[in-house]
Structure formats: structure tokens, C-alpha cells
């Protein structure tokens, strides 16, 4: 069986900076896979390569066996890939509801869209309360929820999350992560990029550890939690 997402020996550069030095990873249908690593490790760059926002200089990114590199970023939503960028990508001048509608931009089925709005509201009841608010005025946590809700509006089969816990209070992080699990239970495959390895490894099935553009470890989440190096560097256990 081929993996849903297959990244093979991908190299990527920002000018002369060699940001990805041969990354390979797989995500199977129905999994939660996490990609952990410190600042500047190349996590965001990996996601940008998957979304065709950056072209790898060598290697390939395949979705269900199909090379994603030949597509424009704007075509990926229709392929079932949705991304929640780092630092909450919401359209800040639009209302919550308008943001959700934008998430379904490439879809034409009005009834299905309305249904999905209700589904998002069920996942994030806070958004329902605030559906008419201009999203730039939402709190950080609410914006994160909105960005995730917006991504869900394209009915993705693969959801890419870039550090959803960034800058949020621990309670809120827990709430967001349990929603991620819920989204996964409802059938969406998830690639979760995190610095918060403790939380990420609790909900993920498998994990990869990225350091300065290279994958240094990959294992199932349980073993990674017990791994001495991970404990020392990412979990703060002495």
C-alpha cells in the first residue's frame, strides 16, 4: 500500500541557505503524524514545500502516488490538502462566517457548504457565538480555531497544521489538541508540526524529529516519548 503523503529526499533552499537537506517522511491514511523540532529546524519550510509554495530543488512530494510539484498552490485545495499556516492565517478584515465561507472557495455545492459550517461550529462552539465578529478582533486562541475551521471547510483529506499551540495558554492548547484528535476521528489525516513535543506526542501515532534541515529520528510516539535525546532536548526532562 502506498502512503497518502510521501516525501522523498527533498532539498530546498532560500537563496544560499540550505533549509532542507534531504527530508523523507510518510503519512498513512487516517494517521496523526507529528513533525517536531526547534526554531529554524525547517518545519515550516517542509510544509511550504508540500503546499507547492516552495519548489524543492530535488526529491519529490507525492499525494496518493501523484506528484504535487506540478500543481500551483491554489490547486491543492481541490486535491484535498488544507493548511493552517504558522501564526494563524485568517482574513482579518472578514467576519468569522466570511472566513469560513472563503475556506470553501473552490467548492460549488451550497448545501454541503452550509452543512460543513455547522460541523465547524460543532467542533468550535466559540466560533458560532462570534460568527459576525471581524476576525482581526478575535483573541489569539479564537483565531487559531478559526484558521482550523477555515481549513476544514475545504473538506480536506490531509490537514497540515503549523504550530497550532504557539502562544496559547496551556488550557487552550489542550482544547485545541483534543479538537485535532476529534477531526482525525472524523476521518481527516493530519500532519502536525510542533515545538510543543510533549503535547504533540500524546495525540500523534508516529513522529519525526527535525534538526537543522535533517530528520534525525523517526519512531512511534510512545518510543519517542521515552527516547533519551527527545526527553532531554524537547521534553525538558533531565
Amino acid at each position: 500500500m502506498t502512503a497518502m503523503l510521501e516525501i522523498n529526499d527533498v532539498h530546498a533552499y532560500y537563496g544560499k541557505i540550505h533549509a532542507l537537506k534531504g527530508i523523507s517522511l510518510n503519512v498513512e491514511q487516517g494517521e496523526i503524524v507529528t513533525l517536531i523540532g526547534g526554531n529554524g529546524a525547517g518545519k515550516t519550510t517542509t510544509l511550504r514545500t508540500i503546499c507547492a509554495l516552495m519548489r524543492p530543488t530535488s526529491g519529490f512530494v507525492k499525494l496518493n502516488g501523484e506528484d504535487l510539484n506540478k500543481y500551483k498552490p491554489s490547486q491543492l485545495a481541490a486535491k484535498g490538502v488544507a493548511m493552517v499556516p504558522e501564526g494563524r492565517g485568517v482574513f482579518s478584515r472578514m467576519t468569522v462566517l466570511e472566513n469560513l465561507e472563503m475556506g470553501a472557495f473552490h467548492r460549488k455545492d451550497k448545501a454541503g457548504i452550509a452543512e460543513d459550517i455547522e460541523r465547524v461550529y460543532a467542533l468550535f462552539p466559540r466560533l458560532k457565538e462570534r460568527h459576525g465578529q471581524v476576525s482581526g478582533t478575535l483573541s489569539g486562541g479564537e483565531q487559531q480555531m478559526l484558521a482550523m475551521g477555515r481549513a476544514m471547510m475545504s473538506r480536506p483529506s490531509l490537514l497540515l497544521l503549523d504550530e497550532p499551540s504557539m502562544g496559547l495558554a496551556p488550557v487552550l492548547v489542550e482544547a485545541i489538541f483534543s479538537t485535532v484528535e476529534e477531526i482525525n476521528r472524523q476521518g481527516t489525516t493530519i500532519l502536525l508540526v510542533e515545538q510543543n513535543a510533549l503535547m504533540a506526542l500524546q495525540i500523534a501515532g508516529r513522529g519525526y524529529v527535525l534538526q537543522t534541515g535533517e530528520i534525525v529520528l523517526s519512531d512511534n510516539a510512545k518510543s519517542l516519548q521515552r527516547n533519551a535525546m527527545v526527553q532531554k532536548v524537547y521534553l525538558g526532562v533531565e
Partner: protein, 570 residues
């Protein structure tokens, strides 16, 4: 109990005093003095001199919360007014002592000194100026003592009278259409208005303002509260019908001169609506917008001209070609340029605008497009047996074009394209992630914007009858951009209002053309400080600028789209 901030009073007085001094030294006061506002009473120059004193007094006294004792605020006003006069008096003194001052400040002429000293000589005149300014400051401060319900109508009536006498050309030209000459003369001398007219206008506007203040406002609120949706719809239909009739008969009300001004305004409305799509809707800063206006004008002129360079084709065939040429140029420029963001885009488009102007003027292309001599005898459109010649004729052509552009803008804004532009303007990466094609979205805005400018240019060339390189300067691009900013970025009514304020009003004040850019600059700065969202902002812009003071949006506003979205669920 003494809440007067004396330092503030002094500061306001001196700042405005220096402003008066600068206005004098650069020749503004003297030039403006030649414009009568109210015959034998007030010139525009005097207004420029005196209004700051009144304002200084008003705002120096305004800050104090304690109004039970009237004396301190009045004194602060007096002081501020007095100080407003001091720099000008120093100038008078300096001019008397340093006789060659004119070699350095050419505008410090005997006439200016005469204006500043009321023609009474340096010493007596200076004292008089100080006294007048102090009294005006006092009056300004005293405005606060009037009860609010009387103060507002009084201030409004005064402002209306001043505006009426400053733009007296408008009522004068309308009156000329309907009234015999000797009656018109009684109200309008060569410039400004007579005292009689000023009194009538003041009394009338005061009466109306008082009525509004004491009973009109509440009555309207009551009516609005009980109005049904049915009535509201009928009311807006009536308003629409009346405006339509008004727009149609306007040329015969306004007369030739004002209709000509209207055609000038229309040319700019058309351009501004186009740039509004590029800048306001899509958020792409284009500083070379005049290039598309030029392309539309030149292509149409070349095709229709009956002169040496032209082909003499019918205008109605040439105009669409001109518009298409502009659209083509928009796309042609857009493809390489739209990968750039923000400032870079502005610089590249600026360069492109200049390239077009230089090319058009160059000797290289002279055999084809006439170089500095331009293209003469541009063809005029005809409808059946009627050939469009007069400003009135072109008024209707421009009206039709503007309505079309307005309709297109409005449909695009509320449609899918509008959403796309808004998304791209806010976050390009997320926009792509939800499936919006960046380049296509931007190109669409560029192409439509260019098309409107091309249409405007095509009509412009035909209306003026000739096309010269000088008509396509950078200044036009800046002018159109300023219209959008002053009116309200992204707002359709704002753009129209902006064109009237920045193109229409200056046409009525032609004699001050040398100060036009200065006034523009001041106006823009004041706008950015006082009303950054523009005179008539769009809803989106308003909520963005005032997000911090925003109450939760009204129920009616929210229910409509939500309702639609949830319907299929039940």
C-alpha cells in the same frame, strides 16, 4: 477650579500665528485677497487671516471642563487670538525696517503689508491687527458659552454662508439660466456675493438649522422608527427616480460653464473608479495609472483623427478598440509586475507611467503619434444625425460611461471577484491555500482598472479635440490616487465624492492654481490625521479603522448571510 491650560493656549496661538505668517510670506494671503467673498466685507485673504484667530480662541478655551466661571476661558481665547496675530505683526515690523526684504521674499509686497495693516500704516495698523485678532480669539472662545442647541445651528449657518460665497460661481451660473441679468446682479457682483445675498443665505440656513435642531431631528427619528420595509423600499425608489431625473436635466440647470466642470469631474470619476478596483479592492498600489488613460486616448485619437496622422474611423468603433488596447496594456504590464509585492509594485508602475510619457513625447515615435505636437482633429462621436460637440453632449456620454463603470464595480465587489480580491489583499499565502489563483486575481483587477482608464482617455481625447503628451503627466496618477484616498479607499460613493472635492472644487477656484498642490498636500495630511478612512468610507474600511471602538455588529447585519447559510440544514 481653574482648569485652563495656559501653555496650550499659547502654543495654539503661536502655531496658528506661524501658519498665518507662512501663508503671508508665500503670497497666499495677497492672492486670496483678490477674491471677494462678501462684497466690501470679506475677502478670501481676510478669511485666511482671521479664521485661524477664531479657531485658536475656540480651541484654547475648549479644553477646560469648568465652565461656571466664564472669565478664564475667555481670557485664554483672547490670548490665543492675540498671539495668532503676533508673527504677522513682526513681519510688518521687519518689512518696515529691512527695506530690501523683497529681494529675498518676493511676496512681501507693499500690498501684503497694506492688507495686514488695513492700510493704516505700520504702527497704527499693527496695533489694529493685534486688536482685531484678540477680539476674534475672544469671539472664538465665547462660542463655548452659547447653549449647544443654538451653537450648532449658528456655526453651521456661518459655515454654509462662507461656503456659498466662496463657491458663488455655482449659484451664479444656475441663477443666470433662470433669472434676468439685473436681478442676478443684485445678488452676485463679479466675484463672491453681495451683502444682501449673504444675509439671506445666513438667515435661511440658520432658520432651517434651528428647525432641524429643535424639531426636525426628533421627528425624523420617530418616522424612521415606525417605517415599514415596504415604505422604505418605496422611499429609496423615489430617491432613485428623483436623482435620475436630476442627472438628466442637470446640464440645462447648470449652464455651459458648470457643465464643462462636470465633464472634467466625470473624466476623473471614471479613472478613479478604475483605480479603485486596483488599489481599493485588490490592494495593489499602482502609481503609473495615467499610462492606461494615455493608451486609451492615443489609440482612439489615432484611429478617429481626420488630421495627417489619423485614420478617420468612426468614434464608436475606435473607442472599444482604445479600451481594449488599454486592457491589453494592463495585462501586458501586469504579467511581469504582479509577482512583486507592495512597494516594489508601486515603483515599477511609477516607472512604467513615465516610460509611456517619454515615449509619447519622443522624436522616435513622432511620425506615428505626433511627438510634442500631439494629435489634432480627434474625431467626435455622432448619434444618428447629431454629432457630439458641446460640453452638454459630452456630459451625457460621460454620465453613461460613469454609470456603467459604477455598475460593473458594484457587481464585481459583491461577487466572487470581490471576495477574491479581498482575500488576496489580506494574506496571499492563505488565499492560495483556499484555492485562489493569485496571478489571475490580480490580473483581473489590473485589466478592468486599465479598461476604465482607457474609456476615460478615449472620451477625453474626443472631448478636448486633441491629445498632447502634457495631458498625461505623473500628476494625473497622483491626482486620481488622492481622489480615492480622500473619498475613502474601496468605497464607490467615496470615489465620486472625492472627485468632486479634488477636481470639481479646484475648477471653481482656478485663479489659485499655483497653490493647488500646496492645498492638496495640506488637505491630505489633515485627512490622515482627522479622518484616515476617507470622507465616505466603505463598510469594511470603517470597521477596520475603528475596530477597537466597535460594538458587536448589529443583528440585522449578521442574520442575512447566516440565514442563507443554514437554510439547507432544516
Amino acid at each position: 477650579m481653574n482648569a485652563i491650560d495656559w501653555r496650550r493656549a499659547i502654543r495654539i496661538g503661536l502655531v496658528l500665528g506661524v501658519a498665518v505668517l507662512i501663508a503671508s510670506v508665500i503670497g497666499m494671503v495677497q492672492t486670496f485677497d483678490e477674491r471677494d467673498m462678501i462684497e466690501d466685507i470679506l475677502t478670501l485673504g481676510q478669511l485666511l487671516l482671521f479664521a485661524p484667530a477664531v479657531y485658536a480662541g475656540y480651541s484654547a478655551a475648549g479644553k477646560s471642563e469648568e465652565r461656571r466661571v466664564a472669565a478664564p476661558p475667555l481670557l485664554a481665547g483672547l490670548l490665543a487670538g492675540l498671539l495668532t496675530g503676533v508673527p504677522a505683526v513682526l513681519l510688518v515690523g521687519l518689512a518696515g525696517w529691512w527695506t530690501t526684504i523683497r529681494d529675498y521674499f518676493v511676496n512681501v509686497s507693499p500690498q501684503l503689508i497694506d492688507i495686514l495693516t488695513f492700510g493704516r500704516g505700520a504702527l497704527q495698523g499693527s496695533l489694529m491687527l493685534l486688536a482685531v485678532m484678540a477680539v476674534l480669539g475672544l469671539i472664538g472662545a465665547a462660542i463655548h458659552l452659547i447653549p449647544a442647541r443654538v451653537r450648532r445651528p449658528l456655526v453651521n449657518a456661518t459655515l454654509i454662508t462662507l461656503i456659498f460665497s466662496l463657491f458663488s460661481d455655482v449659484p451664479l451660473n444656475i441663477a443666470n439660466q433662470f433669472l434676468p441679468r439685473d436681478i442676478v446682479r443684485r445678488f452676485f457682483p463679479t466675484k463672491g456675493v453681495t451683502q444682501l445675498a449673504a444675509v439671506i443665505v445666513f438667515a435661511l440656513s440658520l432658520a432651517i438649522a434651528l428647525w432641524w435642531e429643535f424639531s426636525g431631528r426628533t421627528r425624523r427619528q420617530q418616522r424612521m422608527a415606525t417605517i415599514t420595509a415596504e415604505q422604505r423600499r418605496r422611499n429609496s425608489l423615489i430617491v432613485l427616480a428623483v436623482s435620475a431625473v436630476l442627472l438628466l436635466v442637470l446640464p440645462s440647470i447648470l449652464g455651459t460653464f458648470l457643465t464643462n466642470v462636470m465633464t472634467q469631474v466625470g473624466t476623473f470619476i471614471l479613472m478613479a473608479l478604475g483605480l479603485n478596483i486596483v488599489v481599493g479592492f485588490a490592494g495593489l498600489l499602482d502609481l503609473g495609472y495615467v499610462a492606461f488613460f494615455a493608451v486609451g486616448a492615443y489609440v482612439t485619437a489615432l484611429l478617429t483623427s481626420t488630421g495627417d496622422l489619423g485614420l478617420g474611423i468612426n468614434f464608436w468603433i475606435a473607442m472599444p478598440i482604445g479600451v481594449l488596447a488599454a486592457v491589453f496594456f494592463g495585462i501586458f504590464l501586469g504579467i511581469p509586475v504582479l509577482r512583486l509585492r507592495g512597494d516594489y509594485l508601486a515603483i515599477v508602475t511609477l516607472g512604467f507611467g513615465e516610460i509611456i510619457r517619454v515615449l509619447v513625447r519622443s522624436d522616435l515615435l513622432k511620425p506615428i503619434i505626433g511627438g510634442a505636437q500631439g494629435i489634432l482633429d480627434v474625431g467626435r462621436p455622432s448619434i444618428g444625425p447629431l454629432t457630439l460637440v458641446t460640453p452638454q453632449h459630452y456630459y451625457y456620454l460621460l454620465l453613461a460611461a460613469c454609470l456603467l463603470a459604477l455598475f460593473v464595480s458594484w457587481r464585481l465587489r459583491d461577487g466572487r471577484a470581490g471576495r477574491q480580491w479581498m482575500a488576496v489583499r489580506e494574506d496571499e499565502d492563505v488565499a492560495e491555500a483556499v484555492g485562489i489563483n493569485l496571478v489571475g486575481t490580480k490580473l483581473l483587477a489590473f485589466a478592468i482598472g486599465a479598461g476604465f482608464a482607457g474609456l476615460s482617455g478615449a472620451i477625453f481625447g474626443s472631448r478636448v479635440g486633441s491629445v498632447f503628451p502634457n495631458s498625461f503627466e505623473l500628476l494625473i496618477s497622483i491626482n486620481v490616487l488622492a481622489i480615492i484616498i480622500v473619498g475613502g479607499v474601496g468605497s464607490l460613493p467615496g470615489v465620486i465624492l472625492g472627485a468632486f472635492v479634488l477636481v470639481g472644487l479646484p475648477e471653481l477656484l482656478r485663479e489659485f492654481v499655483e497653490f493647488r498642490l500646496l492645498i492638496y498636500g495640506i488637505l491630505l495630511i489633515v485627512m490622515m490625521l482627522v479622518r484616515p478612512e476617507g470622507l465616505w468610507p466603505s463598510a469594511v474600511r470603517r470597521r477596520e479603522m475603528h475596530a477597537d471602538e466597535e460594538s458587536p455588529p448589529s443583528v440585522a447585519e449578521l442574520e442575512a448571510p447566516r440565514h442563507e447559510a443554514t437554510q439547507p440544514m432544516v
